[in-house]
Symmetry: C2
């Protein structure tokens, strides 16, 4: 069963890239870029899924999930060749932090929809 907004990840271990960012107020093509970035990730070998939330103040957290560190390295190389990366740092974000992590344990619950 699929749940909108949640990545369907396998049993650990796998990898997660946590991208925390503060956007500028102006859009300047950001929405289209974000869609292209998500589509690019989804075509990348080793991609497991993506979760993303941004609040009204422009602070957002996007977590992408990957089978291996090698998959992340390949993805990073693709991104760095693309327009999104070059323009992103200059125009879209006031500040961002990126963390590459290894998922050790995972739990899930759907309290009200459980049988």
């Amino acid at each position: 069963m699929s749940h909108a907004g949640f990545a369907r990840t396998p049993q650990p271990p796998y990898y997660a890239v946590i991208f925390t960012s503060q956007r500028h107020g102006d859009d300047a093509g950001y929405g289209a870029m974000a869609e292209r970035m998500a589509a690019l990730a989804a075509r990348q070998p080793g991609f497991l899924g993506l979760e993303s939330a941004r609040d009204a103040s422009g602070l957002g957290i996007t977590v992408s999930y990957w089978e291996s560190e090698a998959a992340i390295t390949d993805w990073k190389r693709n991104v760095e060749h693309g327009e999104a990366h070059r323009r992103g740092r200059e125009s879209w974000y006031a500040h961002f932090e990126l963390r590459v992590t290894r998922v050790e344990r995972a739990y899930a619950a759907r309290p009200k929809s459980a049988p």
Copy 2:
């Protein structure tokens, strides 16, 4: 220099707990609970910081950062003794996923505020 919304974390390795959740529409004391939970985490030994964003649809991602897995285990034990945990699963979330991860590498940038 402090940046609202961003955790000030040390050089890796350290640990991150990624909590992705879908809220129900009703508040039912959620805001007060979330503040108590954040205050509880901040008093916990080994706590490094917290980042959180929730979009208008009620999908949110909260990442808490920790010095060690032992600190996460101690925090989890405290949370499970508290009201927030017991009520949370029943009343606040339609679905959540929790992942315990080890941060291997980290990068940061503040494009427009850099000297």
